[in-house]
Amino acid sequence: MPHDTTLNSPEKARKSGGLNIAQVLHSPLVLPLAGLIVVSILMGLASENFFSVSNIMNVLRQVSINGILAVGMTFVILTGGIDLSVGAVMALSGTICAGLVVNMGLPGAVGLAGGMLVGVVFGLFNGALVAWGRMPAIIVTLATMGVARGLGLIYSGGYPISGLPPWMSWFGIGRIGIVPVPVILMFVIYVIAWVLLQRTPFGRHVYSIGGNETAARLSGVKTQWIKLAIYTISGLTSALAAVILTGRLMSGQPNAGVGFELDAIAAVVLGGTAIAGGRGLIFGTLIGAVLLGILNNGLNLMGINPYLQDVIKGFIILLAIYIGREWR
């Protein structure tokens, strides 16, 4: 095997530090992006409205909630974990937020802060149980999913809490220029997540836990604290999604978000993140979420029976994972 020992040559450094075509082709983003383009073209052919600016904005707005939930899910899955509680925590967070404002007459800002707190507390709880309790994430978050859902229903008696101040609808249906506020919020969250994952030691540690937790721990990575942090991030993104949901519905809905955790997982996996952890990119998740949104939107535009839509989506996800399974 030929060995190159000229590591110190600056050319080498540039080449290995920069990009080349082989590296681009091996990027985990290639397949999701190809999928996105193919599906977009198909949808464009099927419906002339698809590529209109208003429809694109509409799709992105519909994607925003799942897109934000999927950010937290990406952090969790990159460590090899999973968070099933995101949908229920989102519902509870929105319900508490509305309850604080409507039932207790507190200012909207306090309501929003309360909602955030709910997300963070549940995230800390999940993270502590997974990290120090050494319990499997799937079981811990399955249980807290039930807890969060139940608490929301108890608090609200099962009914939506409406009567929020009108300005809160800005988060759900407002626009800046032609771009919906939730879309801007989503992009901002993605950029922050990208910086965290790619430009901070914390992000590298997240990847290393998914790559080999024992090796990471023995090299001095504080694996338990990192895990606590990523589940907390997931709780926080659930609460942020709740802000958009509450703004859009102008009420706290204790029954909202059922099954959203599965859409978030689908977005992460469609985005090329390995379910075992260690490998994946945050913008892959964005592509995955948009891909799912386009499927929903396109199938709707085509007037396909909603029950059939679920079946089609399921098979498309299977197909995507099948194509991507050996891709490296």
Binding site: H3, N8, K12, G17, V195, P201, R204, H205, S219, V221
Partner: protein, 500 residues
């Protein structure tokens, strides 16, 4: 019996085998020798159908065969015991031996009694005693290996490949294994024996085939060669496997780490030792004697252990390895793949993993340029051979992987480094480089604890040796007393001090 002719194999553009011949006779132990990356494992994978050769023929008993997969090779009488075992940890020895070809009774249910009886017969032939019902994860490494060999034999293997079977065995266990091999040879089994230990080859093998960088170098009778000629065939140049000279450690040199008491589990033996600055202490003993566990306990990574120690005169207590790192103690673990490296990540990511403190930008962010520069500097310091820092770890040889683990720690100004089996599974040339690196570190004032199952290494590197037995230190030897005989006596028959 087995004849492989002109075998070629390339992965992409890289030729890993360039026309290799191997001929093994019935009732012969044939050594396959070569440095890491020479193509031994690839050749064996071709033999047992796991990968297919680009060119060449395989004949068994004169009949040409090309195995489409592993099962076909097994059916033809090829058995292989991999370096990494393929046992299922939660199943018992019997269940593992009959996995996927369970014996059934007339109702189509498992015939457990028949399987147990057959397993016992085979293990008796080997003259080894292995618990049959316990999950194999509770067996020692040697016992697991015997189960693997028994499994191959239960398949009526006429050609048995042993890929570095002795790497994780203690000398007594190696003796047991050799007894088994001699028994098999007497029965007419053709055995391919892969090992890095030359003395073992002289002890057990009849003929030797040497590979180097995918080339066939030659085949010779053991009687016709000696250590030096073999090494020369392997590396193409003469390397005397020598150890860098030991440093003079004065008795009054200050003590860096004073371990007053370490106990692995409640009621177990309590050990104590002290490590001086710039000293290498060897931890010798049999596999399972508590050496690695003690090292882990020092870092706070062994649950259930209690430890009282002073680092540079101050009481310290670690609850996780990150604390130990902050205090200046690092571990290079025993198993590179499971505990040391993230093999699917790049060299850069593997070295950076605990070095981020050194290249930060605006406190929170990674300075990517500095990261690359530091990584390349570390790679040069330990001379990692690779095309660049973005190479994935699983494309490197064992020796280079180990150098990456060293590189991770080299710029930390560590006070103490614990090397657990630093040269396991790596070739002669890389070993010498690792030894040199260890000495360099001690010259810079770092102290080293070296856990090793290879006696020559313990003798050649250690300033003092702590001998373990039954979970604790039974003796500490130094100076003239560091001899194989003394160490082995303590390790196998030493008095156990159970402090109250």
């Amino acid at each position: 019996m087995l004849e492989m002719k002109n075998i070629k194999k390339s992965f992409g553009k890289v030729e890993v085998l360039r026309g290799v011949d191997l001929e093994v006779r019935a009732g012969e132990v044939h050594a396959l020798l070569g440095e890491n990356g020479a193509g031994k494992s690839t050749l064996m994978k071709v033999l047992c159908g796991i990968i297919s050769a680009s060119a060449g023929t395989i004949r068994i008993d004169g009949e040409e065969c090309a195995f489409a997969n592993y099962d076909a090779a097994i059916a033809a009488g090829v058995g292989i015991v991999f370096q990494e075992f393929s046992l299922i940890p939660y199943l018992s020895a019997v269940e593992n031996m009959f996995l996927a070809r369970e014996l059934r009774n007339r109702f189509g249910l498992l015939d457990r009694r028949a399987m147990r009886k057959r397993a016992q017969e085979i293990l008796q032939q080997l003259d080894v005693d292995v618990p049959l019902n316990a999950p194999v994860s509770r067996l020692s490494v040697a016992e697991q290996q015997f189960v693997e060999i028994a499994k191959a034999l239960s398949l009526d293997a006429r050609i048995l490949v042993l890929d570095e079977p002795t790497a994780t065995l203690t000398p007594t266990e190696v003796e047991r294994l050799f007894k088994v091999i001699r028994e098999l040879r007497r029965k007419g089994v053709a055995i391919v024996f892969i090992s890095h230990h030359l003395e073992e080859i002289f002890q057990i093998c009849d003929r030797i085939t040497v590979l180097r960088d995918g080339d066939y170098i030659g085949t010779c009778d053991v009687a016709d060669v000696n250590n030096d000629t073999l090494v020369e065939m392997m590396v193409g140049r003469r390397i005397e496997q020598s150890f860098p000279p030991k440093l003079e450690i004065l008795a009054e040199t200050d003590i860096v780490l004073d371990v007053e008491a370490v106990q692995l589990k409640r009621g177990g033996p309590v050990s104590s030792f002290a490590l001086r600055r710039g000293e290498i202490i060897g931890f010798a003993g049999l596999v399972g004697s508590g050496r690695s566990e003690t090292a882990m306990a020092l870092l706070g990574a062994f649950p259930g252990a209690t430890c009282r120690m002073k680092l540079e005169g101050k009481d310290v207590k670690f609850t996780e390895p990150a604390d130990a790192l902050a205090a200046g103690i690092g571990l290079l673990p025993e198993s590179r793949k499971e505990q040391g490296l993230i093999t699917s990540f790049s060299i850069l990511r593997n070295i950076s993993i605990n070095n981020y403190g050194k290249y930060r930008k605006n406190h929170w962010f990674i300075d990517l340029k500095k990261e690359l520069a530091c990584t390349q500097k570390a790679m040069r310091q330990v001379s990692v051979k690779a095309t660049g820092p973005n190479d994935r770890l699983d494309t490197l040889s064992g020796g280079n992987q180990q150098k990456v683990v060293v590189a991770r720690w080299i710029n930390h100004d560590m006070k103490i480094l614990i090397f657990d089996e630093p040269t396991r599974g790596i070739d002669v040339g890389a070993k010498a480089e690792i030894y040199q690196l260890m000495r360099e570190l001690t010259k810079q004032g770092c102290s080293i604890i070296m856990i090793s199952s290879e006696l020559p290494e313990v003798l050649g590197m250690s300033d003092r040796v702590c001998v373990f037995r039954g979970g604790g230190i039974v003796a500490t030897v130094e100076g003239e007393d560091i001899t194989s005989e003394k160490i082995m006596t303590h390790a196998t028959t030493g008095r156990q001090d159970h402090a109250a």
